[in-house]
């Protein structure tokens, strides 16, 4: 394990190498290596069923990797799962607290299980921070999706973990609650907490310090938002005008065009080879219809990555 002992502060919180997991003969996570640094918010993106949840479960000891190795908070993934569990806050994709327990009872249970010192005060503070003082005796099953998500986040923070693993924490949550949620995540990260978060939202992806995109269990790209876009080598042109609808189909069937996406009255056409793309556009559009280059968005990149993954691995 190449862990830098001298600079303990910057030693990676997650450091895994070639982690692999199969269910039956289906490889769900395929040789993924990655590092997450202290205080970093690391976004994990990819289509449904790409192996994000499986990867997270391996990090917190819920699943045993078939092969590969790594450490989480300096503890070996396979040898020391309990030590990892003690300092990791894991928020499951599906609400998995007890619906027949009240908010307070759920938090109290978690605090007891983690043997949190000064339990009563910790739970009181968590409830106050949630703003749930008046509803603390309500059954968790009666809460709306947004409140369930807040309860789950509060529960996985009770034992002051050093790493949060959040599996689609904002799915089905309204924009205001999502914004509050991200404010809180950034505040925690500033205090030194590391966060690994999966999401389908592009705006959330852009709020992460670093990103990884996985498809079919493989890591397709990794880095800051800027890095990811640059590495994709994608050129995008914007075409406006009345005839774009009819143009879309013709563009989609042309070789060399990666994707065509409608944006209101305009379309974005992207491809990996700039010369070929301008050639196609020139021949199809003639002179009267203008097209101009625009910077590729993260979404363009991800869709193109997904297509590439489909072509290569399916």
């Amino acid at each position: 394990m190449e862990r830098d002992v001298d600079r303990a502060d910057t030693a990676p919180i997650i450091d895994v190498h070639e982690l692999t997991k199969s269910f039956g003969d289906k490889v769900v996570v395929d040789r993924i290596s990655m590092k997450v640094l202290p205080g970093e918010i690391y976004g994990f993106l990819g289509p449904n069923g790409s192996g994000k949840t499986t990867f997270m479960r391996m990090l917190c000891g819920l699943l045993t990797p078939d092969s590969g190795s790594g450490t989480c908070l300096g503890h070996d993934l396979v040898q020391e799962p309990t030590a990892i569990k003690r300092s990791v806050g894991y928020m499951t994709q599906k609400f998995s607290h007890y619906t027949d327990l009240t908010i307070r009872e759920n938090l109290d249970f978690v605090a007891r299980i983690f043997e949190v010192p000064d339990r009563r005060k910790t739970v009181d503070e968590a409830i106050a921070r949630l703003g749930l003082g008046a509803r603390q005796k309500q059954l968790a099953g009666e809460l709306s999706g947004g409140w369930k998500q807040r309860l789950a986040l509060a529960a996985c923070m009770l034992h002051r973990p050093r790493l949060l693993l959040l599996d689609e924490p904002t799915a089905g949550v309204d924009p205001k609650a999502r914004r509050d949620f991200w404010e809180q995540i950034h505040k925690l990260a500033a205090e030194g907490l590391s966060v690994l978060i999966t999401t389908h939202y592009m705006d959330e992806a852009e709020r992460c310090h670093r990103l990884a995109y996985i498809a079919y269990g493989r890591l397709m790209t990794e880095g800051t938002v800027r890095d990811v876009i640059d590495q994709a080598n994608l050129v995008t042109y914007r075409i406006e005008g009345p005839a774009v609808r009819e143009l879309t189909e013709r563009l989609r069937s042309s070789d060399g065009v990666g994707q065509v996406v409608a944006f209101g009255n305009a379309i974005h056409v992207s491809g990996e080879d700039p010369d070929r793309l301008t050639g196609i556009l020139g021949s199809l559009l003639g002179t009267e219809q203008a097209y101009r280059p625009v910077p590729a968005t993260l979404e363009d990149v991800f869709i193109s990555l997904m297509k590439r993954a489909e072509d290569n691995y399916r």
Binding site: G61, L62, E80, K85, T92, H97, Y98, D100, R112, I113
Partner: protein, 378 residues
């Protein structure tokens, strides 16, 4: 790195189970309802010594002895004479239709032949398709006949009396001289109810967490399998005592079952029996993939327990292989203990041979449950 058993985490699970148990009204109703229902069914409705069985009589010799015999049979309570038939065909038809259980046929010239010492025949035709319904009445019939003959054959006819046996056999049915089936059934019922409810309830305990997804959260914490397993058993021990208490009170107050032994001893041994049932339930729970499978496993255990333990049918009447299976089941031993303490006044020395098999069963079940407990979602 092995993590030590933590009382704090264990207590957290116990507390949580108590709260959930309290909120789950249906389960709670079942826990109280099942003992009451079983008490009514087995205590009042089911009788292994049926009386007043419908009997038809075909009298072709209306002599004094015939009349006296019918009267004596009626008095015995086993036979209810509600029909008189004239021909054998008629009698046969009644039996075939199931309208009567017995036909008593007193043939022509019965009295005359008897008085001449010709050993006349009397026919008691029984519908023997259900042996347990007829056997006690048939056993009583022979005795009734002898009594009638002894009473009626007096004076010059005395020589016709059946000769007395040269040995007098004294039968004494100790502990239950009146052969009241409730004395036997009600203490046994306590074991049956505990087996039924406790195995089923705990069989659901872990599979429910798996099915609702809460297990994923639980496994992501430092909690140990032993803490979860034992934490789920403890609250139900109290539930078991609640049921046992209910039945014991009913046994005393309603059925007047004697309690000749030490009640504290019974309650102490019951702890082992309850734990054994909860442990097997938890073990099913760790093997089953969902709640339905766990339920089915519970029934799979419950049926042999009821049938082979000696609750429904006499243990010694079973073939040896079935007795061996019965000896494994905790209910078999608990039945002997409960009946031994309540009816016979057994003490620790007498019940000891029944205690250790139950203990062994509980320990093995817990061990299997703990090794089967999946600590990951693999």
């Amino acid at each position: 790195m092995r993590e030590r058993f933590s009382m704090g985490r264990f207590f957290a699970v116990v507390l949580k189970e108590f709260i959930q148990m309290r909120r789950d009204r249906l389960t709670f109703a079942m826990v109280v309802g099942i003992p009451i229902m079983q008490l009514v069914l087995f205590g009042f409705a089911i009788n292994s010594d049926p009386r007043h069985l419908p009997t038809a009589v075909l009298v072709q010799d209306p002599g004094l002895i015939a009349r006296s015999l019918v009267q004596a049979m009626r008095t015995s309570d086993y036979f209810a004479f509600d029909q008189e038939v004239a021909t054998e065909e008629e009698a046969q038809a009644l039996i075939e239709r199931g309208d009567v259980q017995f036909v008593l046929h007193i043939p022509v010239d019965f009295t005359r032949e008897l008085l001449r010492g010709e050993r006349p025949q009397l026919l008691l035709l029984a519908d023997g398709s259900d042996p347990s319904a007829t056997s006690n009445a048939l056993g009583a019939a022979r005795q009734i006949l002898e009594n009638v003959l002894a009473r009626e054959l007096v004076g010059s006819n005395q020589w016709l009396r059946p000769e007395a046996s040269s040995v007098e056999l004294i039968v004494h049915a100790a502990y239950n001289p009146e052969r009241i089936s409730q004395y036997n059934i009600v203490p046994g019922l306590m074991g049956v109810v505990l087996t039924m409810t406790l195995v089923l309830i705990t069989a659901l305990a872990i599979s429910r967490e798996n099915e609702r997804g809460t297990m994923e959260n639980l496994l992501a914490t430092p909690v140990r399998p032993a803490e979860i397993t034992l934490g789920k058993i403890v609250p139900y021990i109290l539930m078991g005592y609640l049921q046992a208490g209910l039945i014991l009170v009913a046994a005393r107050v309603i059925f007047d079952v004697p309690m000749s032994g030490s009640l504290p001893l019974l309650l102490a041994v019951m702890l082992i029996f309850i734990s054994a049932n909860l442990a097997i339930g938890i073990t099913f729970s760790t093997i089953a993939r969902n709640q339905l499978q766990a339920m089915q496993m519970g029934f799979f255990f419950f049926l042999p327990s009821i049938l082979l333990s000696g609750f429904m049918f006499p243990f010694r009447g079973m073939p040896v292989w079935a007795q061996h299976i019965g000896e494994i089941l905790p209910l078999t031993h608990f039945l002997r203990i409960a009946r031994g303490i309540l009816l016979k006044g057994n003490g620790p020395a007498e019940i000891a041979p029944e205690v250790w098999p139950m203990t062994l069963f509980a320990v093995v079940a817990v061990a299997v449950g703990l090794t089967r407990f999946r600590q990951t979602l693999d």
